[in-house]
Every structure is written in C-alpha cells, then in structure tokens.
C-alpha cells in the first residue's frame, strides 16, 4: 500500500511536470507578447526600446526558451512563483489570497454534490419506474445540460433582482460574517454543484440498478433480510465503486466551472484570477495557477484510487 502510494505520487510528479511544460509552451509559442500588452497599458507614458529591453531582461524573457523554463521550474521548486508582469505583485501571494476563496466554494459544492447525488440516485433506484424516479431522472438529465453560468444569471435575476432575497455578489469572507457568507454562497454553490449532482444521480442510479440485479442480491433476499438492510448493507457499498470514479472527476469540473461562476457572481477567487490573467497574457499567474489546480486534481485522483480499496476488498495495490 505505501509502495503503491509512493509510486502514484512519483507518477503524479511526472504528470505535473508535463502540465507545466505544456502550459509553458502554450504561453510562449502561441501569439501574444505579454510585455507588449503590459507596455500598451500605459498609453500615456512612452517606453523607449531600451526600457522595453530592460524589462525583458528583468523578467528573464531574453533568455532561450529552455532556460526560461528551467529557471521558472527551479523557482517553483524553491517556492517562488515569480512576479506578475501585469499586476506587479508576487504570484505566490496572489494565489494564496485567491485559492482559499475558490476552495471554500469548491468544497461546499463537492460535499453538496456527493451527498445529494448519491441520495437521489439511491432513491431513484429504489423507486424505479415510480413517479419520483421519473421526475428525478428527468431533472438529472436536464441538470447535465444546463450551462452553469446561465443558471447563475437566472437565479440572480429571480432571487436577487426580483425577490431581493439574496445578495447579488457572491463572496463574504466566512471569518468576517459566517451567516452572511453562507447566504451569499447559496447561489454560487447551486451553480457549481448542479451538473455534479445531476451526473452523480445518474451514475448512482444506474450503478444501483446494476447491483440490484446481481446474484448476491438475490441471495440476500433469499435470506429473508429486510429491504433496508439489503440496500444499506448489500447494495450501496457495491454501487459506490463506479460512483467514486465520477465523484473524482467532479473536482476538476468544479474548478473549471469556478472560472465562469466567479465571473457571474463577482467572486475574487482563482477562477477569476486565471481568466483575467489569460486575457492580459499574464503568463506567470497562468503557469502557476494552472499548476496549483493540476496538483489538486492529481491528488484527488490519487485519493479516489486509494478509496476504491476501501469499497472493494478485491482490489490489491501492487
């Protein structure tokens, strides 16, 4: 088991290296010179070519691409994420202030998704073919088609602008005022978790139905067990095995969705930071930010793979 985790972590490091390489190459090879964008922001002042060259040296952009990459990587390993060209701030500091906000919403959304998705899926499977199943299944099928940012606008129009029940902007620090913070988080969390709840409901339902038709469930019925015991003890644990896979995918999806949702609700998180940095070609922030997100995704994949073992004793880690 320990050997397995170590091997998986090494593999994760390789994957993360490739992520940095891909993002680095994309940022440098695709059109758009960040320095020119930076310079163009200051229309009033005029930069002499010498000043631009000075800046280019300062940010290390005069070196060869491989050298730039190696330097950047070395800095990252020392914990230095560099300095943003456009914002003029330390990237590590920027990320450390923005990431917790995204994680705050992300964790809430993930927990809501996992909890509701599994419960809905189990209920549907138990009430298969009944009206409740039909209604929830149709809603789940719709849920995976709704653009999250659109539902955000719709909710905001309804609950903030028309009914005035909820605030329009989405973020109050929980340390500042917990009640306010949770109230403001309601709509963003709904948007971030809608797709995941729907996808998990579908997956759980189908996995439950698959398990219910297995021989060992017939054995359980033949023992005279209560339906509740058959569901809780014999069915759910088996059905969770494929659900875990889908659950793991939600981490990346929620991060991806936060780019949109943080824009809609004006939330100062990683998603908005990344989007804005991309538009201004602030490559330092994009490179570091993508790496941070990839680290979270790779780690959550590892947790998923380890948790299989808890659900399924047949799995051996070797």
């Amino acid at each position: 088991m320990t050997a397995y985790i170590i091997r998986r972590l090494l593999l994760g490091v390789i994957i993360l290296l490739l992520v940095t390489l891909l993002v680095f190459l994309a940022m440098r090879l695709l059109p758009g010179d960040p320095l020119m964008i930076f310079v163009s922001q200051f229309q009033t002042e005029s930069f002499t070519p010498e000043q631009i060259e000075e800046l280019r040296r300062e940010f290390g952009l005069d070196r060869s691409l491989p050298m730039q990459y190696i330097n950047w990587l070395g800095d990252i390993l020392r914990g230095d994420m560099g300095k943003s060209i456009i914002m003029g701030q330390d990237v590590g500091y920027l990320i450390s202030t923005r990431l917790p906000v995204t994680v705050y919403f992300g964790v809430m959304s993930f927990v809501v998704s996992a909890f509701l998705g599994v419960i809905f899926g189990v209920i549907c499977a138990l009430r298969r073919g009944k009206w409740l199943d039909s209604v929830v299944t149709v809603l789940a099928n719709i849920g995976i088609t709704v653009p999250a940012f659109w539902i955000g606008i719709l909710l905001m129009y309804l609950f903030s602008l028309t009914l005035h029940w909820l605030p329009t902007s989405g973020y109050v620090a929980p340390t500042e005022n917990l009640a306010q913070s949770l109230r403001a988080a309601i709509m963003p969390v709904i948007c971030l978790s809608l797709f995941s709840v729907a996808a998990l409901t579908r997956q759980t339902r189908s996995a439950m139905l698959e398990v219910v038709s297995q021989d060992y469930i017939r054995t359980a019925w033949a023992k005279g067990l209560r339906e509740r015991v058959i569901v809780l003890r014999h069915t759910i644990k088996n059905a969770m095995i494929p659900v875990i896979t889908i659950l793991g995918l939600q981490v990346g999806l929620i991060f991806g969705g936060s780019v949109l949702i943080e824009t809609v609700f004006n939330i100062p998180g990683m998603g908005r930071l990344l989007a804005n940095s991309l538009f201004s070609h602030d490559y330092q922030i994009v490179q570091a930010g993508t790496l941070v997100i990839a680290v979270v995704v790779v780690l959550s994949n590892l947790i998923v793979d380890i948790s299989y073992g808890w659900f399924d004793p047949r799995i051996r880690y070797g």
């Binding site: 653009p147 990344l274 989007a275």
Partner: protein, 301 residues
C-alpha cells in the same frame, strides 16, 4: 434510460432460440424503443434543419441593427424582443444554431480523429510509446477541460476556427483514453492473435480489427462529446474568448443579455434554453446509442 427487460431470471430460455436478427436492425430497434432517445434525435434533427435553413427560418437578418428599437420587450414583431443594438433575438438564436453546430462538429471531429489516433498508437505499440502518449494525456486531463480550452482560445484569439482548435484540444484526452482502453481490450482478444498468426501486417491489423470493434464506444462518446463541446463553447463565448461579434453565438448572447437583464430578461434567458435543448438532445441520443450499441459502456460514459 434503463433497459426494462433485462432483469428476468432465466433469460437463456428465450434468447437462445430467438430468430437471428441483423445487428443493424437490432440497434435501430433498441434505439427507437427508448422514447427519450427518440426525443433527443428529434431535437438534433431540428437543430440541423434550423442551422441549414436559418436564412429562411429567421424573421430578420441576424445583424440588422435598428437603433430606434433597442432592448424591445417580446412582441408580435420580435417574438423574443431585441438586444441593445436593436437586433432581433429570435433571429440571432436561429443563426446561433449554425455557430454551435459548426463548432460542435468541428471540435468533436478534431478531437475524435487526433484522440483516436493517439490512443490507437499508444495501445498498439505499448511500451515507451504508450508511456509517453498516455502521460501527456494524463497531463491534459489534470487540467479542467474548460481551462485548457480557455488557455488555448485566449492565446489564439477568438473566431470560429480558433474555438474549434481550442475545444478540440480540450476534448482530445477523453477520446484518446477511451480509444486506448478499447484498443487494449480488443488487443487481448483471440481473434487478434488469430489475425496475427495469419500474418496480417501491423497497420492493416490496427485498422481492420481494432477500429471496427472500438467503433460503438467511439460513436457513443462522440455523441455525448458534441453536447459537452456546445456547453464549453458557450462558456468560452460567455467569457468573451469565443466566437467574435457580430457572429451570433449563444454563450455571447447570454453574457451580452446579462448586462441588460432588467430591461429584457429574454435576452439572457432564451439562448440558454436553446443550449439546454441541444445539449439534452445530444445526451439523450448518446444514452440511446449506448444502450443500443454497447450496454457495457453504461457507467463508463
């Protein structure tokens, strides 16, 4: 969504003796026995018709600016009202179907072709080739698909071609993984060993044996992928890195309409409903195809 007749206790009793049916007819029959799949098919047919016949269906040209009549509420003249430049919203939604369809098909075709080729090569050659390709695919998967597309699109700039490229790269990993897994399992089968023993050449074998066997999975994943591309495209357009104005795109219409939500909510809401209907169509068609072509894919796709 679920097959309702598979739970019987002794299915061998009648399946063994059933008259042989052609595979194609069986697939058609199973697909059309799912009402929801047929609904999906109808929605997609409607989308295609709308896209092709947009100039005839749309009441106004999509970019006709009418500054005297901006942000009009829905009325007899403009069923969904007009936007901030006085353009007819319904007409723009109808033309937007073209944009969505072109991008969905383009990006999916690109991701399927590249992804399947990469997956095939990885699975077939194995060893170091497999390691290199699949680790890059892992790296692509470690970054959320929307972010991959966003990075690509914002660097390449907007426009239909660049959005197709960005989303194509974003979706690539799904197809490569799928193809690799499928090809690996097909590779284990006896008939591949048989083909090899008959001296079939490498490339010929790959194309003749593995591709047709992996085809059902490909069709199902690609169909669901079309819906995913449309959702992602809407996201990119919403963030302003998608299709460039004045070209009508649903995502962009939502973000434009968002600014004028108090004057005319239909501006932001109606394109979203169009997106939902189309994505729903592709998803339900995908579910139906999965049940018809290869029920084992349930849970995978």
């Amino acid at each position: 969504m679920q097959n309702n007749v598979t739970n019987s206790v002794e299915p061998t009793a009648w399946s063994e003796v059933a008259p042989a049916q052609s595979e194609f007819r069986r697939v058609i029959r199973v697909f059309f026995s799912r009402k929801i799949a047929v609904v999906g098919l109808v929605l997609i047919v409607l989308l295609v018709i709308t896209a092709i016949f947009a100039p005839w269906l749309a009441p106004y040209p999509p970019n006709d600016i009418d500054m005297a009549n901006t942000l009009a509420k829905p009325s007899g003249d403009h069923w969904l009202g007009t936007d901030n430049l006085g353009r007819d919203v319904l007409s723009r939604i109808i033309y937007g179907a073209r944009t969505s369809l072109i991008i969905a098909v383009g990006a999916t075709a690109m991701s399927v072709v590249l992804g399947e080729i990469l997956g095939l090569i990885a699975a077939y050659f194995g060893g170091i080739v497999f390691q290199i390709i699949m680790r890059f695919i892992d790296a692509l998967m470690a970054v959320p698909m929307l972010l991959v597309a966003l990075i690509m699109a914002s660097l390449l700039g907007g426009g239909v071609k660049n959005v197709i490229l960005a989303l194509g790269v974003g979706m690539l990993s799904v197809h490569a993984r799928m193809m690799c897994a499928q090809a690996l399992s097909v590779k284990q089968n006896d008939y591949i060993l048989a083909a090899r023993s008959m001296g079939m050449g490498d490339m010929r074998m790959m194309i003749q044996e593995i591709v047709p066997n992996a085809f059902p999975a490909l069709v199902v994943v690609a169909t669901v992928g079309l819906g995913a591309v449309i959702l992602a495209e809407a996201g990119l357009s919403f963030l302003g890195v998608g299709v460039m104005p004045p070209y009508p795109a649903w995502g962009k219409m939502i973000s434009d309409g968002y600014k004028y939500i108090l004057s005319n909510p239909a501006l932001a809401f109606s394109p979203g409903i169009a997106i939902m209907l189309v994505v729903f169509g592709f998803n339900m068609m995908g579910d139906g195809l999965r049940d018809a072509l290869d029920p084992r894919l349930r849970g995978v796709v």
